[in-house]
Amino acid sequence: MEKFTTLSGIAAPMPLVNIDTDMIIPKQFLKTIKRSGLGANLFDEMRFTQDGAEIPEFVLNQPAYREAQILVAGDNFGCGSSREHAPWAIADFGIRCVISTSFADIFYNNCFKNGILPIVLPEDQRDILMKDAEKGANARIEVDLEAQTVTSSDGETFTFDVDPFKKHCLLNGLDDIGLTMEKAAAIDTFEAEASAARPWV
């Protein structure tokens, strides 16, 4: 998993509340055999017409936001199904951080497994960042996971909470597999002993 330490990037404003996993990645894209490539269909039904043309009004289609790495979103982001395709699509598009007042639980956890930092802020602070994001490409928002701060383009800094263990994993790029691999020595030892005791396995 990719590490997350600091990020300075363009933020796209999505003030809509209850953005669900069906909006993030509609179900016709779930038959894929890949987890990469889903970024092309991120927010598909909001982003494209039926015949695949871009809808110019949609935020990520606007020139200022095509390279956005942060989303500033309305309440309860990521509700709906448990599909991991939603964070896969977000990460594949290049977004590494989502800021909102609240997230759906499973989505929130899935973000950490996929190198995305979800940040929960009180409404007034989120609204300040939303305004900031609306300024377009001139406004870069800075995120520092180690310090647990978000800084607006005007230099206003807010702190956020994050579970220490999740923080540790994200800072070091450790997914479940990465964490288990930290215990490789224990697995090696077990494997050697087991194959001596049960060579037929």
Binding site: I33, R35, S36, T180, K183, E191, P199
Partner: protein, 467 residues
């Protein structure tokens, strides 16, 4: 040392690391892989630049998606999605160097039939697969359970699984079974008695005289459906029958290693006085040939019973029963043996083994089907070949059954073998959920003998009347 259950013993022998909160890294001896739940896992390995830690312990076979028609060598008989998934497995198996049985290989079949058949599954092992019916392998006294795609990737990369230990549950089937009663009737009856959540949080050990009397095939049928009872896994202690089954299989140990293995396997039993958190006892002679009437595997009744009414149940089950009755289009009070059947499906990882085909053929011999469609889908290419050699295939064909190639087929609606809306099927598979065998399809679960009897009369039938 305090007495241990069989589950305790296998668990203890596989803990590679234990954290303070009791979370363990369980070492995995065999990882079985199929085409549907693995592509993103391999993709994940590639993206992270990781390899398969133990390719020698990893075995792949396509089964869920593959057509079972005789013309399947022609890839155009597959839907686009299926073709892509099967091609991905071909490539992943090759790129990561794991054991592989492609569609064209006679040893191809349902992953849970191929594993034991090839000697990959042995007593005392930990076995996982991205499929809930991995419980099947518990018949060998192996700790076997299904996992999700992210766990598939975790096992591929680390050969371990992050687990917390389950509780111990004992299901004892005492005494002898009556004629016409099979392993399928045992496993369905247990679920009928304990409910689909009765095993939640537990690993079940099946024991008792009726279990001991079962063949390995029958034991696999029993363990296969442990998951339908909510359990993480089902287990049966290995014995001489188990060793006999394993002996000489391609991947079973040989020579001195075989002797050492058997000596170890003989230690795999529950110690006298070991603690079980839950115990269920059923008398073997009380078990009748059963069928399911509803859309949950716990909706089980003896074939001699009648369709229940929703208010025969209590609490939340009233609404569920009504929904089942509506979906199944059944009227309360109708004798089960009056229910007409359109289709018969014999196969799946529950009942697609040679013994199942023998049992069904035995009933069908010299008879003709009275249903619109009947198919036999052997669980593997080798089961198919053996059935042909024994003349079973001819019996099926003469009766009017389609004689298919191996795969999951009509067990789930993921390939072209599907029920039409409203079509009613007597099936030897394991799930009767709404839409499981095709949108709007109606499934009655039963044993291969009972399915054969239904094929002959065109309705649900007490097979004992034909014996």
């Amino acid at each position: 040392m305090s007495p241990k259950t069989l589950y305790d013993k296998i668990w203890d022998a596989h803990v590679a690391h234990e954290a303070e909160d009791g979370t363990c890294l369980l070492y995995i001896d065999r990882h079985l892989v199929h085409e549907v739940t693995s592509p993103q896992a391999f993709e994940g390995l590639r993206m992270a630049g990781r390899s398969v830690r133990a390719p020698d312990k990893t075995i792949a076979v396509p089964d869920h998606n593959v057509p079972t028609t005789l013309d399947r060598a022609d890839a155009s008989t597959m839907t686009e999605d299926s073709r892509v998934q099967v091609a991905a497995l071909d490539k992943n198996a090759k790129d990561f160097g794991i054991h592989y049985y492609p569609v064209s290989d006679v040893r191809q079949g349902i992953v849970h039939i191929v594993g034991p058949e090839q000697g990959w599954t042995l007593p005392g092992m930990t076995v996982v697969c991205g499929d809930s019916h991995t419980a099947t392998h518990g018949a060998f006294g192996a700790l076997a359970h299904g996992i999700g795609t992210s766990e598939v990737e975790h096992v591929l990369a680390t050969q371990t699984l992050i687990q917390k230990k389950s509780k111990n549950m004992k299901v004892e089937i005492t005494g002898k079974l009556k004629p016409g009663v099979t392993a399928k009737d045992i496993t369905l009856s247990v679920i009928g008695a304990t409910g689909t959540a009765g095993g939640t949080g537990y690993v079940i050990e099946y024991c008792g005289e009726a279990i001991r009397d079962l063949s390995m095939e029958g034991r696999m049928t029993v363990c296969n459906m442990a998951i339908e009872g909510g359990a993480r896994a089902g287990l049966i202690a290995p014995d001489e029958k188990t060793f006999e089954y394993c002996k000489g299989r391609p991947h079973a140990p040989k020579g001195a290693e075989w002797e050492a293995a058997v000596a170890y396997w003989k230690t795999l039993f529950t110690d006298e006085g070991a603690h079980f958190d839950k115990v269920v006892t059923i008398k073997g002679e009380d078990i009748a040939p059963v069928v399911t009437w509803g859309t949950s595997p716990e909706d089980v009744l003896p074939i001699t019973a009648a369709v229940p009414a929703a208010d025969d149940f209590e609490g939340g089950k009233v609404g569920a029963a009504q929904r089942s009755l509506d979906y199944m289009d059944l009227k309360p009070g109708t004798p089960l043996s009056d229910i007409a059947i359109d289709t018969v499906f014999i196969g799946s990882c529950t009942n697609g083994r040679i013994e199942d085909l023998r049992a069904a053929a035995n009933i069908l011999k010299g008879k003709k089907i009275a249903v619109k469609r009947a198919m036999v889908v052997p669980g593997s290419g080798l089961v198919r070949a053996q059935a042909e050699e024994e003349g079973l295939a001819d019996i099926f064909k003469e009766a009017g059954f389609e004689w298919r190639l191996a795969g999951c087929s009509m067990c789930l609606a993921m390939n072209p073998d599907q029920l039409q809306p409203g079509e009613r099927c007597a099936a030897t598979s394991n799930r009767n959920f709404e839409g499981r065998q095709g949108r709007g399809g109606r499934t009655h679960l039963m044993s291969p003998q009972m399915a054969a009897a239904a094929a002959i009369t065109g309705k649900l039938t007490d097979v004992r009347e034909m014996m």
